[in-house]
Symmetry: C2
Subunit: 201 residues, 2 copies
DNA sequence: ATGGTATAATTAACAGTGTTAAGTTAAATA
DNA sequence: TATTTAACTTAACACTGTTAATTATACCAT
């Protein structure tokens, strides 16, 4: 009975091999400049083998991004345990989100900029990791409103405003590293602080 | 002596024809889904003719982008003349900026996301239109601070915070069109309003 | 151990891409 | 009218993602 399991294990192993080859190439050379043949040759399989494990190139990208999202989610969940005050949690979470983006800039862009472009009609599916990340943000914001710390704007909008701010500054810092930014941490803190203040007022 | 001029005029005319055919296709079908052959057939020339006028497909998109950025700049300059109150001007400018991004998502992404990545070490080039757009923002923010409407944060940081907000929401709306956003205009207004409030407080 | 079977991986091919080199047509000059 | 020059097209190359058909491999029952 162990044979089927070993087989499944081997299959999973190859899947992971494809996945990590794809990530490395996507990150280093850009999604568009990476062909299925290039990925295949990296792992020394024929190009079509990949199609036995992933529907198409976009699906492969999607799987790579799911992994990234999972990493992000874990980073955030870690914070939830340690902090009680919702505003403080929101601040720290925002910082953590941005820090994650800056630590893995190419993975961040792959997930939040490239993937949507090539996975047309991508929505936040129920149960998906992306949904969970957003739910996490949603939850904190929700608490801030319940405790009457934020003014009465509906939860959805408030969360989306917060997301816009952190997403925006993350991408700007990634894409224009040579721009004369004010000191990085200052900028990040000011973005978060300003947004939170704006939501209070 | 008029012949050379007529020829030059005709050449410029075809260049414009290519440009506007490309714009229309890029806007309607997305840069990735538009082939050189498709553009060529739209203007009833052979595909290779385009290469007599533009270096490659990226250059074609770049030219489209420059034109539209110029439009944006003109739109903003118009606002400057019509509105006196700096806060009101900032609001309207933010909305115009976002509206531009949503109308020409490929242009916007090319300028502010894709190009910086592939032209490593690229700053907003001195004299470029992108730079001028940022300078414009800088100028308004500067006035808001001078008039003591905004709290005392230095001009650079304030401008960058504002940019982060509009950049963020623009990209999110472009990249996740199927996300369950609150009504688009509501979100945009709230982002701008929140950021401005946060900068006042 | 051998024949059959399911599964995994490959080869060959299609229709399309951006782009270049070579060839052709048309127009302006001498 | 012949020649030069500019504009444009044809044919081709080296790719791309992806599918159908085919081969090789590993397992199972006899």
């Amino acid at each position: 009975m162990g044979i089927k399991e070993r087989r499944a294990r081997e299959k999973e192993q190859l899947r992971q091999q494809i996945l990590s080859a794809a990530r490395e190439l996507f990150v280093n050379e850009g999604y568009e400049n990476v062909s299925m043949r290039k990925i295949a040759s990296k792992i020394e399989y024929s190009p079509t083998t990949i199609y036995l494990y992933f529907k198409d190139k976009a699906d492969l990208l999607d799987s790579v991004c799911q992994e990234t999202l999972l990493n992000l989610l874990n980073t955030l969940e870690q914070l939830k345990r340690d902090i009680n005050d919702p505003v403080e949690r929101l601040k720290k979470s925002g910082r953590a989100y941005i820090a994650f983006g800056l630590k893995y800039p190419q993975d961040y862009k792959l997930t939040f900029v490239v993937r949507p472009q090539f996975q047309e009609g991508l929505r936040l599916q129920e149960g998906s990791i992306g949904k969970k990340v957003f739910d996490y943000l949603h939850e904190i914001v929700s608490e801030c409103i319940q405790q009457k710390i934020f003014r009465e704007v509906d939860v959805e909008t408030t969360g989306q405003v917060m997301w816009s701010a952190v997403h925006g500054v993350t991408l700007l810092l990634i894409d224009f590293p040579d721009f004369p930014w004010t000191e990085e941490d200052t900028l990040i803190d000011t973005v978060i602080h300003t947004t939170i203040q704006g939501l209070k007022a």
